[in-house]
């Protein structure tokens, strides 16, 4: 995939993105998500710990307008797929002092199938909480002798897209017990803390008020099964933690950093709120 193709695609979506802002959106729809003949579970009974809080869990896709939804249903229309294609090339690029590429250890991106559905998770060897970005940078620094990629760098976002896509349709099953329990508890506490001058928690918007509008935004449950997300508004891909930064900033708060202990724990906790939903791969939101 050449850079030019990406730029053209981006320009097109930038224009569309603006058009969407002028449209009225409907309540969460009840529609199936079928991509390439594959049925993606975007509506499921709530996990046990959310019984009495949310009747069922719903993907943010169900809250978006029709045009945005449609874009995700066809990989030719989904601008996020371009990023994954770019990472496919990167898979073979040798980098670092060890003279290695991803392909030196992992035959193909397909070898990553399933990972997205169970991360973040506590690595049994190191006891560290790992998301996909952490695994990628561990390989780069420890196995390739290369520099870590930045949390929002193009390379990292591309790779996140490619690795997530390998698990498209797989049901999210992120562990919250055992070694994950302390991280989960910490993430939960953050989820219910009312930050900033507006004193709003994740729960205030996504648990208490999902389905309502906050200005022109239709509040979803704030699920992360769709991540990474191609945002029409930003004309680029965003990770789950990148989204958290935006949400916390909107409460007029000092945000946490991507990759901080706080956001790592929060990413784990929010992921478990979506256990039962399927990985979308690279989703499209406005």
């Amino acid at each position: 995939m050449t850079l030019r193709t990406i730029k053209t695609a981006l320009a097109a979506t930038a224009i569309l993105g603006c058009a969407f802002t002028g449209m009225t959106m409907a309540d969460p729809v009840d529609e199936p998500m079928v991509i390439d003949g594959q049925n993606i579970t975007i509506r499921a009974p709530a996990p046990e710990f959310l019984k009495g809080v949310l009747p069922e869990v719903l993907s943010g896709w169900l809250y978006r307008d029709e045009d945005t939804r449609k874009m995700e249903l066809d990989d030719f229309d989904n601008p996020g797929i371009i990023y994954a294609d770019r990472a496919r090339d990167q898979w073979e690029v040798v980098d670092g002092t060890e003279g290695k590429a991803c392909v030196s250890c992992h035959e193909s991106p397909e070898a990553m199938k399933g990972l997205r559905a169970v991360t973040p998770r506590v690595d049994p060897d190191s006891g560290k909480l790992m998301n996909i970005e952490a695994y990628v940078n561990k390989c780069r620094t420890e196995r390739m002798g290369a520099e870590a990629w930045g949390d929002k760098s193009d390379h990292m976002m591309d790779m996140l897209a490619l690795i997530s896509l390998q698990s498209r349709g797989e049901i999210i099953n992120v562990a919250m017990d055992g070694a994950a329990a302390p991280f989960w508890e910490k993430g939960k506490e953050i989820y219910y803390t009312r930050y900033g001058l507006l004193e709003l928690s994740c729960a205030n918007c996504h648990e208490q008020n999902n389905g309502k509008y906050i200005r022109s935004d239709h509040l979803s449950q704030g699920q992360t099964n769709g991540f990474p997300v191609y945002r029409l508004k930003d004309t680029k891909i965003t990770s789950a933690q990148g989204r958290f930064v935006g949400c916390v900033r909107d409460t007029r708060a000092e945000t946490f950093k991507i990759g901080s202990d706080e956001f790592n724990a929060l990413e784990l906790y929010v992921a478990t709120r979506g256990n039962g939903l399927a990985v979308e791969g690279v989703s499209v939101r406005h």
Binding site: Y195, G196, L197, Y213, I214, R215, T251, A253, E254, T255
Partner: protein, 157 residues
Amino acid sequence: MKRQIVLGMIISAFSAGVAMAEVAPESVAYTDGAVAQSLTGTAGNPEEGRKAMVDRGLGNCVACHKAEMLKDQPFPGDVGPTLDGAGDRWTEEQLRGIVANAKMTFDGTVMPAFYKNSGYIRPGDGYTGKAAKEPIAPILSAQQVEDVVSYLMTFKE
């Protein structure tokens, strides 16, 4: 020339006097959520109140509230109830309390407190995501609260 200088001094002394009469956020007295005393002693200006209610950097009330009086605003939210008839339902004192700190009227409400300057968790500097600079200014000034209240008093059915 001399007369002008003297006049200027009188005016600034006067405005300093007004500023001192302002009730600081930490000194606002709530009774059952209501605030009896004006925060400034200067009557609110409804037009300014309207501006504060729609400006994203100020009250941004339309993020959560619809109202006939605000129907020219695109995409009002519906997290809060419609404000139609708010001036019938509530007294001026009650509205002052709701705007200054709605949590004193509605326990645990999602509605932000607009006249408060402490007790925050990770307060930010506007919408920058960076830490707030001390001392923290309340989201609305005392006079803006009075302005908003005077505008809300015109929300009659």
